[in-house]
Symmetry: C2
Subunit: 422 residues, 2 copies
C-alpha cells in the first residue's frame, strides 16, 4: 500500500511544479515582462498547449521531430505539445493577420515541452517569455528586438549581461564560398557545434577527419576567433570573399550602429561563431548570457522563411527568454520576492459582524488576511500563525478587537477606526 501511495506522488520526468514561492516569482517576472512588452506595442497571444504535429514542425525537421511530445487524436491525427511559441504565432499571424498592415507585434508568456535537451537533460517543461516582430526586414526591426531584450533584462534587475550577436548569412556565405554545402550532414552538424562552442581542439580534429583543404580548414578555424567588439566586423571582412557574407556583415554593422545610438551596444559582443540554428535563422542570430550561468538566458534572431510555410511569406524577428534560468539568476541578484507572507490571522469563533467588518476592511486595503476556521486554543492559533509568518493576530471577543503582535509578543485592544487608518 505504501508503494501505491509513493507512486501516486510522482510526477513525470522533467515537468515543472511551482510551489507558492516559485509561482509567486513567476507571476512577478511574467507581469513585468508582459507589461514592458506591452509598452513597446506588443500584444499578448495565448495559443493552445498542443497543435497538429505538422504545424509545429512544418519543415519536418528530424531533430525537432525527436524533440516533440506527440500523441494521437481519437480521429487518428497526430498532435504534439508545443516545443516553442514562434511557429504557433506564425500560424496565428497567417490565419488571422494576413491582411493587416505590417508590422505585427506579438508577445507571449507560456510553457513549452521538449524531450531531452542537450545541455540540461532533466528539464522537459520550460516557461518562455518572448516577442515576435512580423512583416519588416531591416536593421531597425532587428535593433528593436535587441533593444527590447536589453530593456527586459534591465527591467528585471539584471545589469550584467552580454548579447552574443552573429549572422546566419555570414556563415552560410562562407560555407558556399568554401564549397562545403555538400558536406555530410553529420560532419556539418559536428563542425557547427565545435565552432559554436569555440572548441578549437575538437574542430581541428573534425576538420582533419573530414579531409578539408588547408585553406578551408584555416578559414573555418578563423571563425571561432571572430569574437569581440565592433572591430570584429572588419576582421571578418578580410576573411571572406563572397557577397552573402559581405551583405551579412554590412547588416550587422547597421544594427550595431543603431544600438550604439541607443546606448544598448555596451551589452553586445559580435560573435560570428554564433552558428546555432544557422539553418533556421535567415539573418542576425543572438544568445544572451550572464556571468555564472553556463546556458543562455535567452536567444533569438531573424527567421524570414518560417511564415511562408503557413502561406504568408513575411520576414520576422524575435527573441525568447527562459523563465527557469531567469529564476536562477534573479535569485542570485536578490531582486525577487520571498515566500508569500500573510499580514493577519483573524480569530472570530462567533463569526461576528465585527469580525466580518474587520476582515473585509483589511482585505480591501490590500492586506492578506487569513480567517481561523479551526476551533483551537489561542496558543495553537498563534503557533499556526507564526509558522506561516503571519505578523499580527486579531481576536474578536466580546465585541472588541484584540490585537496581538506575533513578533514582539505583545497585545492590546484596537478598534475599527484605528484599522481604517492603516
Amino acid at each position: 500500500m505504501v508503494g501505491k501511495y509513493l507512486r501516486r506522488l510522482e510526477m513525470p520526468k522533467g515537468v515543472n511544479l511551482m510551489l507558492p514561492l516559485q509561482a509567486r516569482r513567476k507571476r512577478v517576472i511574467e507581469n513585468k515582462l508582459l507589461s514592458l512588452f506591452s509598452s513597446w506595442g506588443y500584444t499578448e497571444l495565448v495559443t493552445p498547449t498542443f497543435e497538429f504535429c505538422d504545424n509545429l514542425n512544418p519543415r519536418r525537421d528530424r531533430e525537432l521531430d525527436e524533440m516533440l511530445y506527440k500523441f494521437v487524436d481519437r480521429t487518428g491525427k497526430t498532435l504534439a505539445l508545443r516545443h516553442e511559441l514562434t511557429a504557433p504565432i506564425a500560424r496565428v499571424a497567417a490565419a488571422h493577420y494576413k491582411n493587416a498592415a505590417p508590422p505585427l507585434r506579438f508577445s507571449y508568456f507560456n510553457n513549452v515541452y521538449r524531450y531531452a535537451e542537450p545541455h540540461d537533460g532533466r528539464t522537459r517543461e520550460f516557461y518562455q517569455a518572448g516577442v515576435e516582430l512580423i512583416g519588416v526586414k531591416n536593421p531597425q526591426a532587428d535593433a528593436e528586438v535587441i533593444s527590447m531584450l536589453s530593456a527586459s533584462l534591465l527591467e528585471l534587475g539584471i545589469e550584467e549581461f552580454q548579447i552574443n550577436l552573429g549572422h546566419a548569412g555570414f556563415f552560410r556565405g562562407l560555407l558556399a564560398e568554401l564549397r562545403l554545402n555538400d558536406l555530410d550532414v553529420l560532419a556539418r552538424k559536428a563542425i557547427l557545434a565545435a565552432i559554436h562552442h569555440k572548441d578549437a581542439v575538437l574542430l581541428d580534429e573534425l576538420l582533419r577527419e573530414t579531409g578539408l583543404s588547408a585553406e578551408q580548414s584555416a578559414k573555418l578555424k578563423a571563425v571561432t576567433e571572430l569574437y569581440g567588439g565592433r572591430e570584429t566586423i572588419g576582421r571578418a571582412r578580410e576573411l571572406i570573399a563572397n557577397a552573402t557574407s559581405r551583405g551579412a556583415l554590412t547588416e550587422l554593422g547597421e544594427i550595431i550602429e543603431i544600438l550604439a545610438r541607443r546606448g544598448v551596444d555596451r551589452h553586445i559582443i559580435i560573435d560570428l561563431g554564433e552558428v546555432r540554428g544557422v539553418e533556421y535563422y535567415s539573418g542576425m542570430i543572438f544568445e544572451v548570457f550572464v556571468p555564472a550561468l553556463g546556458s543562455p538566458l535567452g536567444s533569438g534572431g531573424r527567421y524570414d522563411n518560417l511564415l511562408a510555410e503557413f502561406g504568408f511569406p513575411s520576414p520576422a524577428v524575435g527573441f525568447a527568454l527562459e523563465l527557469g534560468r531567469l529564476l536562477i539568476v534573479l535569485d542570485k541578484v536578490g531582486s525577487l520576492p520571498d515566500s508569500p507572507t500573510f499580514d493577519y490571522l483573524v480569530v472570530d469563533s462567533a463569526d461576528s459582524e465585527l469580525g466580518t467588518k474587520v476582515t473585509g476592511l483589511l482585505r480591501s486595503k490590500g492586506y492578506t488576511v487569513i480567517q481561523e476556521v479551526l476551533e483551537r486554543a489561542e496558543k495553537a492559533s498563534k503557533r499556526y500563525a507564526s509558522g506561516l509568518g503571519v505578523k499580527t493576530l486579531l481576536e474578536i471577543k466580546d465585541n472588541q478587537i484584540h490585537l496581538f503582535d506575533l513578533k514582539d509578543n505583545v497585545g492590546r485592544v484596537t478598534s475599527i477606526k484605528e484599522l481604517e487608518r492603516l
Copy 2:
C-alpha cells in the same frame, strides 16, 4: 499547395486560441482573482500540464478515463493532460505539505483539457481559476469557500448570481434509506441526471421503468422540489428518516447561518437536487449560475476522500470558476477592457538621441509607444497608426518633436519638457 497551407492554419478541435483582446481580458480576470485569493491567504500553485494518468484518476473512474487526453511516454508510461486542478493539488499537498500545520490554502489559474463535454461539446480546453482549503472539516471552512466564490464574482463586477447549494450526504442517505444503493449503475446515473436537471417527466418515466415502489418513487420525485430558501431544509427534514441525511441538513443549516451573518446568503438557493458528482463529493456541493447563461459559471464542494488516495487522509473543500464562461458574462456586463490601444507612434527615421529619449520617457510613464521601423511616407505611417487605434504620432525631425493628434487631425511642435509633464 493552397490545400497544404489551409491545413497548416488549422488547430485541433476545441482548443483555445486567445487573440490580443481575449488574452488581455484573461489577464485582467486572472490578476483580479489571484489577487483576491491571495488577500484571503490562498497562495498559487502551478502544476504541470500533464501527469501520470493514474494520478489524475486515482479511483480509475471509467467516465473520467474517457475524458482524458492520454499519451504514452517513451518509457511506456501513460500520461494525461490534466482535466482539472483539484487532483494535482491534492497530489502536491500529499507530497510536500503532509507535515505542515493545517489548514492549507491553495489557489490556481490554469488550463485543463477534456474530450467532449456533455453540455458544450466543442470546447476541449478550459481555463479554470479556483481554490482548495485542505485540512478542515467544518461549516466554517465550507462557508469560507462559498464566501470567496461570492467575493470573486463581486470583485469581477458580477452582481447578479445564484449559488445552488446542496449536500452529497443528503442524497446518499436517502438512497440508503430507500435501499437503492444496489441500483444498476446506468439506471442510477440516469435518475441522478434527471433529478439534477429537475426533469420530472423523464424522472417519472425512469422510476416506472426501474420498478421502484410508490414510496421510493415519491421520495425521489420529492427531491426535485427541495429547492428554495432556508425553509427548504425544514421541508427536507420531513421527507427523510435517516441519520446521514439528517446530519447533512444540519450541516447545511450551519453553513447558511454563517453565510447569513456575512450577508452572503442572499446569493444562496438551497437545492437538494444538486446531485452532480454525488459520488465524488462528501459534503456540500454547489454550482453558481447567472441569468442568461445556461451552464454554471463554476462549481465546487467538499471532497473529504480524495487526499487519502494520495496517502494523506485529509478533508478538503474548494471551487473552480470557468474562465470561458466568465468572459461571456463579463462581456455582457461590459466590465472588461476593449482591444489593446496604443498611445504613441514615434517616427524617427534618423534614430536620433532625442527620439530614444522620447520613447524611453513615455514608456517609463506607462504609455504604450510603437516605434516606426518601416521607412514609409508620413501618410502611410499615419494610416498604420490610425488602423491600430494609436492616438498620437510623434515625428522627430531636425531635433524637434512634431506632435500630431490623429483624432483631431492637428499637429504642432512639442518638447521633452512638455512630455515630462504628461
